[in-house]
Subunit: 417 residues, 2 copies
């Protein structure tokens, strides 16, 4: 077909602006459907609907102190100088009920969290009572509702407790548990498959041998995919065989596929033409360094009308990292209902060295930070993965800028989030 040949031959003469790629990613990274999961496993997941409490928490009046439950009015006038005497009629601890009614002049020993019995509306702290046999001297009058956690004090029935879109915190799922929600409806996690292509590659765990090198991209991408809320369904290591990659791309049931390697315009670079053949190659080649051969497209899924996203990531590890981080992670976060922003912390630092960048190109620059000053890591080729382990931070130059001057203050992203 013509279009395929076109792609192979035109190389990167026409690069797609990064902004265009980002807006295409946004357009095609729609929120995924919902799923019900156990509340206890929902920390970090994203709510698909407002949560309305079906109950009051607490759903009874309870004591906020260790002390004595009694009728507040009947303590009025009592003081250390003129203590009134109350008869202790029993005791209640949390989880128990005391069924008889308490009358004026009577008190019930109560522990923090214990339910107030009928006839009482306040708790006298243990410190303000003097125990004498089965009686107490009330050393201080208490007002109604004193030291009482009222019904609904924490959460009221029918109140919205958490909003749609919320990324659930540990305390949020605790609240969901306390209102009795066993399950919760959250955004499904995007499923990802990795195709690591290259005849030269050995699997992680093997040792480099002769002209074979060990794949590092899958090792790096796996935790990043997890970080961005994705589920890595499978990692396939494939030789540079067109039909094999074609078969795998077609059969994948993932929401998003990353192909590492074979994304450029060389003879073994089957990714771009295959995506175009199986769907639509929207972008191939961007003005970013490294990561220039990055591609993005859609291929038909097994379900009619359902497209799978495909990212073509350069095989060189630094390119792969920057392309994943700038594009794929964003897509996953958007599909999962999260903020598209980077999960890295930022920091303002002064540049110890000048950073040059060509106008019209974005540079992914790795920096070492020492005493609040950022040093450019020169050994920064696309294949020098150690530049990202030596670096503390990175920045991206602006497409319209020529870089930064020495001494300029810049905002950088810290690798250690």
């Amino acid at each position: 077909m013509k279009s395929k040949a076109d792609i192979r031959m035109r190389g990167f003469l026409k690069r797609t602006p990064v902004k265009t790629l980002l807006s295409l990613i946004k357009e095609h990274s729609r929120l995924l459907s919902a799923e019900d999961i156990l509340t206890v496993e929902a920390s970090g997941r994203v709510l698909v609907e407002d949560i309305i409490s079906p109950v009051n928490v607490p759903n009874f009046d309870r004591s906020a102190m260790d002390g004595y439950a009694l009728d507040a009015e009947s303590t009025f006038g009592s003081s250390a100088y003129n203590p009134l005497m109350f008869k202790i009629v029993g005791q209640v601890t949390p989880g128990e009920t005391y069924d008889a009614e308490i009358h004026p002049g009577e008190a019930l020993s109560i522990m923090t969290g214990g339910p107030l019995p009928k006839g009482t509306n306040a708790v006298l702290m243990a410190e303000h009572a003097e125990l004498i046999g089965d009686q107490i001297q009330v050393l201080e009058a208490v007002s109604p509702e004193k030291h009482v956690s009222k019904i609904g004090e924490d959460i009221k029935k029918d109140e919205i407790i958490l909003r749609q879109g919320r990324s659930l915190r540990p305390q949020d799922i605790a609240v969901l548990s306390s209102v009795g929600m066993k399950k919760v409806k959250v955004v499904r996690k995007p499923e990802v498959e990795l195709f690591i292509t290259g005849n030269e590659l050995l699997k992680p765990g093997e040792q480099a041998d002769g002209v074979k090198i060990v794949d590092s991209n899958s090792v790096m991408l796996a935790p990043l995919i997890k970080r961005d809320g994705g589920v890595l369904k499978a990692i396939h290591h494939l030789p540079d065989e067109r039909e094999l990659l074609r078969k795998h791309l077609r059969e994948s049931s993932a929401d998003l596929i990353c192909v590492s390697g074979g994304t450029s315009v060389g003879i073994e670079d089957h990714g771009p033409t295959l995506v175009d053949e199986l769907g639509e190659l929207l972008v191939h080649g961007i003005p970013m360094r490294p990561a220039a051969p990055t591609g993005f497209g859609l291929i038909f899924g097994s379900v009619a009308g359902c497209m799978k996203k495909v990212f073509l990531l350069p095989g060189n590890p630094v390119s792969c990292l920057s392309a994943y981080d700038y594009f794929v992670g964003r897509s996953l976060r958007l599909m999962g209902g999260r903020s598209e922003d980077w999960p890295y912390r930022t920091k303002k630092v002064k540049l110890a060295t000048k950073i040059s960048s060509q106008i019209g190109r974005i540079e992914y620059v790795r920096l070492r930070i020492e005493n609040e000053r950022a040093f450019f890591i020169a050994a920064g080729g696309a294949s020098i993965l150690s530049s990202t382990t030596q670096a503390d931070a990175f920045l991206l130059t602006d497409e319209e800028s020529e870089g930064f001057a020495e001494g300029e203050e810049v905002l950088v992203w810290l690798y250690d989030a």
Copy 2:
């Protein structure tokens, strides 16, 4: 025994300063032993030793471009105006070797990542060659090592690639994979057991009924323990029965135990006396609100000379959260070789409201942030868990301060890390 009775009766008359508790935690939260794990699973884990590369990466000279491998010197003088002709003798792609030697006047078609054959020391980019039959016109002279990734360019054999104490990033484990390390020695994860005590408690997933309430603490603590690098081995829901808790405390093989509830001085509060009986209760009662009944101690483990840490966490969920976050999380991070600092992002904001605090006491204050201004959440009792879901951030007042004035700029911790 006397000591037990002492603890039960003296209540919190003598509270331990928070600084003392923190230094006790530091003293007893020593780095755990090492374990070997698969490199591909080591992201986020902490290295116990420096890593020295056993190999060069790459371990052969390879092409950094698609083009032609040749002898640089033999291109000298060549230009678009006066191109020299080279004979293409074959082709090499990554993972292959080309065994014959290349002579001056010959060139080998080479793909990015392909190994340079004998007799070559440079790569001419495809763009700078004109293919004519089985020959190329060299349109530009190349200098030696041009577009060649030299052996060891990324990582040199015997070089230290990562240092002891490093919390491994995705790119770090990628580097470990590329030097052929299948396994890596990291700090073992601290093992944690939770004992959730209280006759009034139902398990998560159940629905509040009468005077029974649903446990929320275990739900909240589980993801926090994971965040801090711990492994939650088991959650036990126990009634307030002294002997049962005693048995569980004795039999636990965890590095660290959290007991939620029963930590105060009430009649059902068995935690403090049990810790004292089974080992040593180092702290019980701190000047912090909420979380005043927090306790910390050591009990004898099943292995001689091996102590288990026990944290007594108040049952009220806000107290439980703040005590976990301020004390337990720190202990876990220290045992796991991580920074003891909080994993929350910080932010400077102006206070929209005054915050009062009693001198000598630390207040855990929850704040809502709107337009860069922080509003105090008044409904802040120890039992009001919803105050932590409504809050965007929190701060801790200083023990020596009376709080903060309205309009004062304060540093807060954001719940959404």
